[in-house]
Symmetry: D2
Subunit: 473 residues, 4 copies
C-alpha cells in the first residue's frame, strides 16, 4: 500500500471557507499530513489564511475558521511523507492581481529547472514545495503577457509533470486548471448557493452539490460571482493516473467519467475470470479492495467475507510514531476474523505491492489464525518503475517487483501459496478506456522530463539520495 497525493477544494459562495472545510474533511484520505484554507473577503479586501500540520479536524474546526470570512476560499490537504520539507498549502504571493493564493495536487518533474529560471527572474523561494513554482511561473508569465489566459497557456507549455490546481486572486476570480495529461483529477459543480471545485466529486456530494464535470486535461475553468467559463488551452492527451482508481480515490467519486467503485468491481470480475483458484472464501484488505473482492466473488462464486477488521482508531499519529517498525503496526491495524479463515483456503485481495512488507505480515497473520491456504491477488500489475507525477515511489531499488519474477516476489517477499497480479490489459478493460497513465507499470513516461529523470535514476543504479525528490541533488 502507498499513501500519497493531495486534495484541493475551491468554493465561491457565502461563507465559502465553511464549505471548503467540509470538502477537505471528505478528501482527507488524499492527505493527512497538513492542511490549510485561504479565504478572500470583498469587504476588507484581504486574504485570511489558516494552515497547519495534522488532520483537517485537528488543525481546523467550525470555530477557528470563522475569521476566514468572505465569499471566496480554497483549501488543501497534503499527503504524508517522511522527512519532507513540504510546508502546508495554499501558497501565496501578494502581488500582482491584489494577491494570489494557490493549492496544487500533483508533481512537477522539471521543478529544478523552473526554479532556477524563476530565481533568475527575480523570484525568491521560501519553501521547497512545487506549488510555489507553479504560482511564480504563472506570475512570471502574467507579467510578460498582461493576460491571465495566456499566462496559464504558457505555464502549460513550460511545466512538465502533473498539476491539478485551484487558484484565487484578490481580483475575486478563481482559476482551476489541469495539466495536458490530466494525471490528477479535478471536478466542478454547483448548486443554488455556491460553485465548487474539488479533487474528487465525493467532496461535492458532502456539500449536496451537483457534479457538472471534469476540468478537461489542458483546460482552464475561470469562475467569479457571475458564473464560470471553461477554456481549452492546450491539446489534451488524457492519461488519468490508474492508481487513483485502484487505491487513492473515494469509491463514490467519479473521475473522468468513471466511477471508482465500478472500476474496482469490474476489475474484480475480470480477475475472477482469469485467476481461478480453488478456495473457500475471498477476503479484501479493507477498505480499498472491498469492491474488487466483491467483484471477484460474484464472478467466481466463492463467498465474499470480511476476514480482516481494520482498527478505526490507528491514525496518522501511530504510523508516524512507529515508522521504525511498520510490521508491528500491521498486526495492530488488522484483526483477523478467525471464524472466516480458520481451516479455510483463503483468497486475499489487496490493491498493490510496493515494498511487500505489509502483505507478508498479513499472510502470516492469516496462517497464525488457522488459514489452510493463502492465495494473494493484487489489483495492480507489478510496479517496476518510479512515478514522477505524484505517487510516492521514488526509486527502483525500493520496489519489491523491480527485476524480479512473480515467483521470486512471492518467495522472497510474500510467502503465499500462490500470488497473482492483474495485467495492464485488465486495467484498460475495467476502465473501458486506454486513457490511463500506467508509467509505473511500464517505465515509459508520457512527458519528456520524466523519461530523463528515469534514465538518470537507472544510471545511478536505482539509488537516490533524496527520498522525496530523487531527481534533485
Amino acid at each position: 500500500m502507498i499513501r500519497d497525493s493531495c486534495g484541493v477544494v475551491g468554493v465561491i459562495g457565502k461563507n465559502a471557507s465553511k464549505y471548503v472545510y467540509r470538502g477537505m474533511i471528505t478528501l482527507q484520505h488524499r492527505g493527512q499530513d497538513s492542511c490549510g484554507i485561504s479565504s478572500y473577503d470583498s469587504k476588507d479586501r484581504m486574504f485570511k489564511t489558516k494552515k497547519g500540520y495534522g488532520l483537517v479536524t485537528e488543525v481546523l474546526d467550525f470555530e477557528n475558521i470563522k475569521p476566514l470570512v468572505g465569499s471566496f476560499a480554497i483549501g488543501h490537504v497534503r499527503y504524508p511523507t517522511v522527512g519532507s520539507h513540504g510546508e502546508p498549502q495554499p501558497v501565496e504571493i501578494n502581488y500582482p492581481m491584489q494577491g494570489i493564493v494557490l493549492a496544487h495536487n500533483g508533481n512537477i518533474a522539471n521543478y529544478k529547472e523552473l526554479k532556477r529560471e524563476l530565481i533568475r527572474n527575480e523570484f525568491g523561494f521560501g519553501t521547497e514545495i512545487d506549488a510555489e513554482v507553479l504560482l511564480f511561473t504563472f506570475v512570471h508569465e502574467l507579467m510578460r503577457t498582461y493576460n491571465d489566459i495566456n499566462a496559464i497557456t504558457n505555464l502549460m507549455n513550460i511545466v512538465d509533470g502533473s498539476y491539478s490546481v485551484v487558484m484565487l486572486t484578490g481580483k475575486e476570480k478563481m482559476y482551476a486548471f489541469r495539466d495536458p495529461h490530466g494525471f490528477k483529477p479535478l471536478v466542478y459543480g454547483k448548486n443554488d448557493d455556491m460553485f465548487m471545485i474539488a479533487s474528487e466529486s465525493a467532496a461535492l456530494d458532502t456539500n449536496n452539490i451537483k457534479l457538472l464535470g471534469d476540468i478537461p486535461p489542458g483546460g482552464l475553468l475561470v469562475a467569479d460571482m457571475n458564473g464560470y467559463h471553461i477554456h481549452q488551452l492546450i491539446e489534451p492527451h488524457q492519461n488519468s493516473c490508474v492508481f487513483e482508481y485502484i487505491y487513492f480515490a473515494h469509491p463514490e467519486s467519479i473521475i473522468d467519467g468513471i466511477e471508482v467503485k465500478t472500476f474496482r468491481e469490474r476489475l474484480g470480475k475480470i480477475l475472477g475470470k482469469k485467476h481461478k483458484i480453488e478456495a473457500d472464501v475471498v477476503c479484501p484488505v479493507p477498505y480499498s479492495s472491498n469492491p474488487t473482492a466483491r467483484g471477484y466473488s460474484k464472478e467466481s462464486g466463492i463467498p465474499y467475507k470480511e476476514g480482516l477488521i481494520k482498527n478505526q482508531y490507528m491514525g496518522r499519529t501511530f504510523i508516524k510514531k512507529t515508522q521504525e517498525d511498520r510490521e508491528r503496526a500491521v498486526s495492530l491495524k488488522y484483526n483477523i476474523v478467525k471464524s472466516v479463515v480458520k481451516d479455510k483456503r483463503v483468497i486475499i485481495i489487496d490493491d498493490s505491492i510496493v515494498r511487500g512488507t505489509t502483505m507478508k505480515k498479513i499472510v502470516k497473520l492469516l496462517r497464525d489464525n488457522g488459514a489452510k491456504e493463502v492465495h494473494v491477488i493484487i489489483s495492480m500489475p507489478p510496479i517496476i518503475a518510479p512515478c514522477f507525477y505524484g505517487i510516492n515511489i521514488t526509486s527502483y531499488n525500493e520496489l519489491a517487483a523491480y527485476n524480479k519474477t512473480i515467483d521470486e516476489i512471492n518467495k522472497e517477499m510474500v510467502g503465499a501459496d500462490s500470488l497473482h497480479f492483474a495485467e495492464i490489459e485488465d486495467l484498460y478493460n475495467a476502465a473501458g478506456t486506454h486513457k490511463l497513465c500506467i508509467s509505473c507499470l511500464t517505465g515509459e513516461y508520457p512527458t519528456q522530463k520524466a523519461n530523463e529523470l528515469s534514465n538518470e535514476l537507472k544510471q545511478n543504479g536505482g539509488k537516490t539520495g533524496n527520498g522525496n525528490r530523487p531527481w534533485e541533488e
Copy 2:
C-alpha cells in the same frame, strides 16, 4: 448510537506494559476519552504510571512507555462523556500491599453511599470516578479481614452495580474479578510468554494469546509469576449486557461463550424472517450493523450492499469540537453510495435508537441521494429506561422511545417509510440464552440499588441534574 463503556487489560510477562499497550489499541473502541498504564517492577519495587486524555496512540507510544518497566502491568481506556469529571485510570493507593493500582469497567450504583461510608473510615477521595470507591472498598475490607479473598468477597456483597476489574499489587499479584451478574465482559488467556486479562478476547488475539475463558460472574482470578487460580466467591446470576453484543464489543470477540459477530448475524436472520419488506437493497450503518445486515440479506434474499461509506478520519476530536451540532457531523461522517440507493427501496439497519437524531439525518441523506423508499430496522428493541450499569443513558426524558409508540417515534424522530425494532425474544434467540441484562428495555433491574435509582428518577419526572450520574445530587 451510543458511545460508552471502558476497557481494561492486565499482563504478567516480560515487558508487560508493551503488551498492555497493544491490547489497549485493540480495545480503543471501548473508550476514546482517556487512557493509562501502570506497571510494577520487581527490581526497584516501584510502580510507574502514565495516563492522559486522548486516544491510546496519542497519549502513549512504544517510546514513551519504555520507562514503564516490569513484568506486571495493567491498562485502561475510558469512554468519552460530556462534562464528566472522570480522570484517567488506573487509580492507585500506596498502602497496603506495597501499593495497589486498579482499572475498572462498569458503573457502581451505590457509589454515593459507599463513598460516604469510606470517608467515615478515614479514606480520602481525590477523584469522582467509581474506580476509587472499588479500590478503597477493597483496602477497607482487607484491613478488617487481613485476607485478600475475603476482602473481595465482602466487596461483592457490598457494591451494587457492574464491575469488571483488574488490580495489581506491589506484592506482585494480579487480581481480576467481576460482579455477580457479570454485566461487563472480562476474559483471560495465555501463551508461552505471558498471561493476559482483558475486557475482550480481541485484545488477546492481537497479542497472539489463546483465550482460556471468561472470569465467571462473582468470580475472582488471582495470578502471579507462578500461575493463576480462579475462585468462585459469590453465587453467579449471569446477566451479560445485551448492548455489548449489539454495539460495543469488537465483532471478533467472544463474550461469555458467544461470538459477537455470530450473535449479530443470527439476529439479522431473525429480523429477516420477522420483518419482511419489499425492498431492493439492505444496507448497514457501518460498522456495527454489518453482520446484522448480512444476516438479514441471507434470510430475505434482498441483496446486501454498503450504501454508506464512513469517513475514517473523523475521530473523537471532531465530535468534541462540534458537539453543539451533531447533525452536521452525520453528513460529514457518512458518504452515501448513490449507485446503491438511487431509485431504490432501501432497508437500512442500525444498532439502536437513543435520541434519534442520527437516524433522522441518515434517512434524509438517503432520500437526498434518490432513495425511493427508506425502511429502518433497529437491532435493539426500543430503549425505554436508563442504565445504571455502565451505558451512558442517564435519564428517561432523553430517550426517543420513552412513552412513545413506534409510530410516534417514526413520525417525530425518524421519518422513514417504515420503522421496525427487534423484540426481546429475538435477542434471546440470537444469543441462545436468556442470561442477558435487558434492563434498559424493561425498566426492571437485577440489583436493588438500581431499582431505587430508577424510582427516584421517575418521581423527578424523568429529570436529572447531572448528566453523568443522575442518582447523585
Copy 3:
C-alpha cells in the same frame, strides 16, 4: 508604565541567524509578544523563516534556528498589545529582487490611505501589520523606478509616521532606513566577523560588536558581503522619541549619541534640584527608574535605597492571563522592603503615568508597609495626547492626565502626599538637545497625518473604536 515598541536586528556574516537571535534576546525588552527570524542562504538561494508568538527564548533556540542557514538574516521582536491582529514579523514578498523580507519598528500614520492605494495597484494584503504597507510601498516604487535608492526615497516622501526598518533581499543586499524624523532608534556596527544593524546598541554589545553610529533620520544604509554605504535620502528633522530615553531602551544603549542611562541620571539630578522634598529615602520603581533615582539622590543627598523588589518570574504570561485585574498583579510583582520604608518619608520615582492604576497601588503598598509619607516623582511630564508614532497610547480618554491638574491627578488617581512631574525643559536639559519628539506631552505632531488623526480623535470626544489603531474605522 507602558509597554510598547518593537525591536529589529540584521546581520551579515557566517551563521547570521545565530547572532540575530542573540541580538533579539538582548532586545527582548522592546517586545515580548511575538518574534521571528528570516535568513537567506546563497547556496540554495532560498529564504528560511521561523516565526511565532511568545518570548524569543520560547519560540526560538539555538537548536531550532539551525535550519535558518546563510550569511544574511534579519529578526524582529514585537510588543504586546491586547486584542491586536498583529502577526509576527518579518513580512515577506517573493517578487521581485528574488524575494524580500522586512522587519519594522514604528507606526505608520497614513496606513489606511497607503493600503487603499496599494490594493488599487494590484497588491494583496494578508495581515494588518503596517510592515506589509512598508514592504509593498517599496516594491511598488521599485517597479516604477527600477532603482532601489529611488524607491526608498519615494517611500520616505509618501509614508507618514515612524519607521526604523531592516530589509533583506534575495539579491544578497541588506537595507536599513529610518524615517526623516528618526523617531525610533536604529544603529549599526561591525567586528571582524560580521556587520550588524539593530534597534539598540545593547544588541551589538552582546555580540561583541563595535557601535559605528546611528542610521541618520531620512538616511539609508545598504550593506552586502563587500561592505556598506550610507545615503542621506531626505532632509532630516531629528525628533528622537523621548520615551525611548525615559522608559523603553536598555540603559546601556546609546541612541542618537545619548547614552540612555546618562540621560536618566542627569534627569534625576535636575529633578533633585527642582523638587526639594523633606524625605528620608528615595526609591525607584525598578528597573527603568533606577538611574533617575540615583541621580536624584546624588543631587539631594537623600539616600538611594531599593524599596521595591521586583519578582523576576512574573512575565508576559501572567499579565496576559490576569489582564482583567492589573491591580492584583502589582502586589505580586513588587515586594516592599519594609526596613527601607517603615516609619520613613519615602520618595518614589517612576518613569511615567499613563492610566495611573499602577502608581496608586504602589502608594498603597508603601503605606501598608509603614511608610510615614509617600512622595511621587514622575520622570515624564503629564501625558496629555495620544501617540501616532509607536507608543501604545491611542486615545485621550484613557490618559490619567488628560484635562486634569496635577492636584486632580493625585487626588483621583495616585493618593500620594505630593506628586511631581518633570517638565519638558527638564527633558531637553537631560538630553542636551531639543531634538526630541514630545508630541504626547504637547499634542502637536511633527507630521501632517498625525495632526489630522489627533483632530479626528478630539472631535470624537476622545473615543476610539479600535484600541490598536484608533484612526481606522
Copy 4:
C-alpha cells in the same frame, strides 16, 4: 551560582488556594521546575489537586485554580535539576485520616534505607521524590501509634536530613514541622482572614499577613479552623543553612530572626574591612549580591555601581534548552555597563563559586568592555564538600574549590587580578550567631547519615553515578 531548594505554602481561610497561589508566586525564586496546589473542601469532603511542570504562572492561574475550592490548601514550588525523576508535589495518600497531602522542602539523607523499610511494611512507591518517604513514614508511624503527635515525633527520630514540611489531612488539620536542625526555613503568620505557613516571610508579606515566627527546629505546628498550637517534639540544634542567607532566600525574608538583606549588607561591610583593594568601583552580580556590594561600598568608600544588567526575560526555558553551553548563556544573561567599567579597576562581588564557569565568563566580559583590573570577592568561603540537606552539590569532583588553593582556583577557573573569599568567621559575624549549617564549607555534617554518605563519596574518588542523589546506586 547555584539554583536549588524548594518552597512550601499552606493556608487556612476562605479561598485558601488563591492565597497559596499568591504565596507561591513570591516564592518562585526557590524553584522554577514544577509546582502544584492541593486543596480540601469541607463540603464535598474531597481533595482537589493541580500540578505540572513549569513556572507557577505558566502552570496555574486565577482561572484554572478556581476548581481548587475549600478553606484548606497547600502548595509547592520545585527546584530545577537536570535529569531528575522528581515529579511535582504535593504528594498524596488516600488513607488514613481521610487522605493526606504533603509538600516538602529539604533532602532526606537516609532516603534509601527508609524506603526499603517502608516497602517491607506494605507501602508502595510511585515516585522517586523524598516527600513520599516523609508522607509514608508519617502514615506508618500513625498506624502504629494511633497518635498524630507521636507519629511525627517518631518521624523526627527516624528521618536523617533536612525537612520543612506542610501537610494537610481530610480531617481538616494542617501540620507544619521542621527537622531538629532547622536547616530549611519555615514560618507562620496570620491576619483577620487567614492563617498561613510558608518557607519564607516574603510570601506572607505579599498576602498582607503578619509574620508571627519560625516553626522551631524539631517543632510542630498544628492548625485548624479554630486556631493553632506549637509543640516542641525534639530537642533542637539549630543549624540554619547559610546558603539561604547568602543566595536562596528573598532579601526581604526574615529567617530564624535574621533578615536576609541585613545579613548580606553586614557581610559586605565585614568583607570591606578585611579585603582592602585599590579600586574605582564595586559592582554586584545581580541580584543576590546587591546588598553585599552595597555593604562593601559603605565600608570601603569605593563607589557602588551596577556594572552588570541582568536580562529579565531569560528564564528557565532558555537555560534548559542550552544546558550544553552554559557559558554562552552568561553573555546573553548579563549586559556590561561600559561607562561603569571602562578603564576602571573593578571589584565584582558574587555569592558563591561552585563550578566556576560563570565567574570566568563574567571576568572575561568585564575585560572585553575595558575594565583595567578585575577583582573578585565571593560571599561564601570555598565550597569543598557536597550537601546532603538540599543544595544541589552532589559530588566532590564538580567543585572548583575541591583540593585547590585559592590561587589555583583563580588561575584555573576565574582569571581575575585577585580573588577573595569570605571566611566562616565572617558568616558567623554577619549572622550574629554560630547556629548555621556550614557543612559544605567544612565537610563535617551535623547528622550521622550525611557523614556516612560523605565518606562513601570520598572512597569513590569523589565520583557519583547519579547527579541527583549520588549516595544511591
